[in-house]
Structure formats: C-alpha cells, structure tokens
C-alpha cells in the first residue's frame, strides 16, 4: 500500500492514542528517575592497588560502596601512566617504581570509566578501566526502558490502537 496513507494513518492513530500515552510516559519516567532501591552499606576506608601497563589497568574494574573513602595506589609497570576518573574529574600519574596515591570520597554513584591521562603510546586513548560505585542503576534503568519500549511496541500499542481504530479495519497490527 502507498506509504503516504500509511503515514497519515500513523498520525491519526497517534493522536487517538495520545491520552493513554501518558500511562506509558509515566512508566518511562518512573524507570528513568525513580530512586533505586539500594542496600545501604556502611562506608569504609578502602585502599586499592591499581597496576597500569600498556594498555590496561589491573584490576581493570574496581568496585566500592557509595560514601567509601577510597585510596587508589597507582603503580606503573612500564612507562609513565596516569589515571583519570570520569565523572569525578580527578587524576594522578605515576612513574614506574614510584607509586602515587589518589584519595577521594566515592560520593557519586554509578559506573565511571578510568582513563590513562598521560600519553603512553599509540593505544593510549583506549587505555580504559572502570570504577563501580554502588550498583549500576543506569544499566538497569536502560534495560528497563528497553523492555518498556518493546512492551509498548508489541503489546500496548496494538491493543490500544485496535480498540480505538475499529473504523480502520485495514490496519492489522
């Protein structure tokens, strides 16, 4: 069938469904912004040794709890490397044999990339690690929104529009 009419029908269907769109929108907003149930863990002090070598951090991923006082002891194994934390915008650098420390309070939750901040060779821009503070709510919200999207497309929209558009029987959804 010609696309033109399909397009206009889509518009009409959308207009008709506008009222019940609010339900889906509300669900999406809840998924995106509602406080995430997270088990409270008493903050502690942590010291984490991180070995930097071309082109990785070891351990590549470090996990702490929100509120922890974190000290990263950065050691380089070959050349001068740095460590920059996304989101926290802090950095240190260390020469091989001279461990450097960075202390901060993990007051932002989420997952942040660690990046090498001192040019250390060709792959330097891709030298990446991760810092997890608490549970990764963004990941779960993303998964939730993806699921909601699929639900909306597969279940909710067909049901809604079939009900509201019985006058356009050629629409088979």
């Amino acid at each position: 069938m010609p696309s033109r009419s399909l397009y206009f029908r889509d518009l009409r269907i959308l207009a008709a469904g506008a009222q019940s769109v609010s339900g889906i929108l509300l669900a999406a907003l809840v998924m995106a912004f509602a406080p995430f149930p997270e088990p409270f863990v008493e903050p502690t002090e942590r010291t984490i040794g991180v070995m930097a070598s071309s082109f990785e951090f070891s351990p590549a991923e470090i996990s702490v709890n929100p509120g922890d006082l974190v000290t990263i002891e950065l050691t380089s194994a070959d050349v001068v490397h740095g460590l920059y934390i996304d989101g926290y915008d802090m950095q240190i650098s260390a020469d091989p044999g001279q461990t450097q420390t960075l202390t901060f309070t993990a007051d932002k939750s989420g997952t942040f990339r660690l990046r090498c901040s001192v040019t250390c060779g060709d792959l330097h821009p891709f030298m990446i690690g991760k810092l997890h503070v608490g549970s990764n709510t963004l990941l779960w919200r993303g998964f939730g929104l993806a699921t909601l999207s699929v639900f909306t497309l597969l279940v909710w929209m067909p049901a809604t529009f079939r009900k509201r558009n019985q006058d356009t029987p050629d629409v088979e959804i």
């Binding site: 951090f57 996304d86 915008d89 330097h124 891709f126 699929v150 497309l153 597969l154």
Partner: protein, 456 residues
Amino acid sequence: MLKYNLLQHTWIKTLTTNRWPLLIARAVALGGFVFAILAGIIGTPVGNHNFAIVAVWIAWWAALMLVIVPFLGRSWCAVCPIPMPGEWLQNGAVLGPIQDKNKRKKFRRFPKIFRNIWLQNVAFTLLALFSAVILTRPSVTAWVLLGMILIAAGLSLVYERRAFCRHLCPVGGFIGLYSQLAPVELRVIDTQVCKAHTEKSCYQGSENGFGCPWNIYPGGMISGKSVNTNCGLCMECLRTCDYDNIALNLRAFGADIQPQNKIKLDEAYKAFIMLGSALVYSAVMLGPWGSLKNAAYQVGTLPWFGYAVALLAFTWVLLPVSFYLITQIANRLNPTSQSPRQNFEAYASALLPLGLAAWVAFSFSFVFANISYLWPVLSDPFGWGWNLFQTAGVAWTPIFSSQVPALQVLVLIGGLIWSGNTTQKIAIDRNASRQTWPVMAFIFAVTLLLIWLFVA
C-alpha cells in the same frame, strides 16, 4: 507526506546551483585533506598531538557521525575531497563543463559484477581489521588517505563517473545506507516532466553541468519511492535540469525506511557489518580488556589473527546468520509465500536505525573524551612547537563525562524504538504481524548488549 522544498529560498538555490560555493568548500576540504596527509607523514608520530589523527578521527568523525549523517545524510559526499582530482581529470575541467559533451572521452562502465556495495563492505571490513593502528598512528592514517585519493583518481581515468564513491569507498557505503534516515532528500517535483523530457540532461549532462556523477538517473528520484542511498547531493542535477524540476526537500526522519523500500543483500550486509563493528569497537576500544586492545593493535601477530577471525566471523557470519534464522523462525510463525532470502532482505532495513544509534552512542564516548585534543592540535598541527592560536597549552580534559553514559542509553533506546517500529511496519506490510516478535527479540537483544557495553 510532509515535505519542504528548501530551493524556494533564493539564497539556498543560489548557494547550491552556483558552482563557486561548493567548489570553494571542496577545495578547502581538499586543502585540509592534503594538510592531514602532510601532517601524518612529517609531523609527530604521537597521534593525539598530530593533526592527521585528531582532525580526521576525532573532529571529522564527530561531525560525520553526530551531525552530518543523522541530519544531513550524504552531504559529506558533496564536499568530500577524495574524488576531486580524478573527477577533474575525467572532466578536463575544475569548475564546469567546458567541452561539447559529444567530444568528451568515453569512459567504461564499472564491471557489472561490482555494481553494488560488496566492495565497500570488503573495504570497510579491511579498515576495521587494522583500525587500532589506523586510528592511532598518524603515518598510517596519512597513507590510507593518500591511498584512497590515488585509487579514486586511478578509477576515474578508467571508469565513468564516481566509480570509487559508489562502489569502493569504505565510508560512502554506510553514509549512503544511513542517509535513508536523514531528513533531507533530492527528488523530482513532477515526474511527468521527466517522462516527457527526451534529452535526460540530468543523466547525460549538458552545457550547464555534468551528467549525474553518481551514475543515477535523477529523473527517477521520486518522493516516497526512491531512497537516498546513492545520491551524493552534489547538486549537479539542479544545474542540468532544464525545467527546474528538482527539489531539495526537508522531510521526516527516516522517510526512506518504508516496507516497500527493501534493501538489497549487499546493503543488508552493510547493515550487519556496521552493527557488528559497532559492537566489536565498543568492546575493544571502550572496554576494560587490555589484551583485546593489544590483540587488535599488534597486526600480524597470533592474537591479531584471532581478533581478525573473530571480527570477520562476527560481522560476516554470526550476525547475518542469526538474523537469517530469526527471519526464518518469523516466517514459520506467520508464513508468507516469500522466499527465505526475501524474508531476510525485507527485515534487514529495520536494523538501520539501531545501527546508526549504536554508532552515534559509540562516537559520543570517545569524541567527548578526546575532543579537547583538538585545541592544541589546531595551534600546533605537526607537533613542532607552534602556537598559532595560543591554544597549544590546553590540557586534555574529557567533557560531559558524567552525562555521556545516560545520553548513550537514550540514543540506544531511541534506536530500539525506531527499529522496532520499522519492524512492525514491515510485518504489517507483509500481512504477517506475528513476524514482528522474533525480529523484535533480535533487536532487543542487540540493544541490551550495546547498553551493557557502553554503561556496564
């Protein structure tokens, strides 16, 4: 369908039909291109302080993936410097036609077997195999750029029109495919005029301009029926059309992605290669796995062969085959009379929005983290200690590092919804709405994988 012809504004019409603005834009682009090659070869070998790497892989790539392709479609191809020298040699002219078209030398048609984008698929995959080196070593980038311009020129001396752009350019392949999503198009206004016009000056060329350099028949570009894929927005047909019958339309996003506009197998493969390489790049370049990075980088070693085999298997076999199986399951669920290949091709275009979203999300990551390298490089493009604009000392500082992950999720969700909706339209068009489910499951799974790679 809502369309808005931009050419009703005189200034836009002048800008596009007059030869000078585009010529100057292209010449500046070619100047930058030559400069990048020069910087790559004689500048510092340190990538993040060399114009070749920073201008091409950070600035140009950011502009291409975040702005030009999603919003302006193939318009990069209108100013791309790569085909220029060859085109000038072919035409014997820089500005416009200077010879009688009958006296023009005849060039061969591109071999029929390659009149598709399979070679582009291969070219892109080849670059992907060596990407860790190409993206980081200025000299390698320079040789790749130089190689592309030489190959393009060589092809122009043998084959007619822009054979390189249409059939070989590793970038052009995906720009073309994703330009179906962009909200601009060049289309005929009144098809009857074209039917009656026997000279077909838009294809054959005239004293006003060259016949379509992209080797399509502009008279056949019909709104709602044709797609953007092969139109390079070079504006030549605006100049050659004797009846002012061509419009440069603003339109809805993704207007080409319609059930009746099936993509062909070579284009479907391009969709898989793009989706697959976005996944692989995200794992290799943004992931925390150092051995994977070193494997991709140490070209010629055993780990690199492992990486190469994995990349090839994933993008050329695993993804397409699993999607093929998905479409066969879909057809089992809700049988139609179409062949397995038709089922496969019918749904492949549903992957375009998600593929573009994946590349936009991927580009967010490294572009915002590294765009601050641009300021020092503009002041000191060769790493020779210059300070042209007093920005040589600007330190590397990632921007939006807190916001990027959420943005990536949003973009991917957008891609998922768009791809899912496209799937539904295709299924409805085939009178087989239950076919939606398996295809949607595939798209959903790929989305989850992408979200996990970007923000986990």
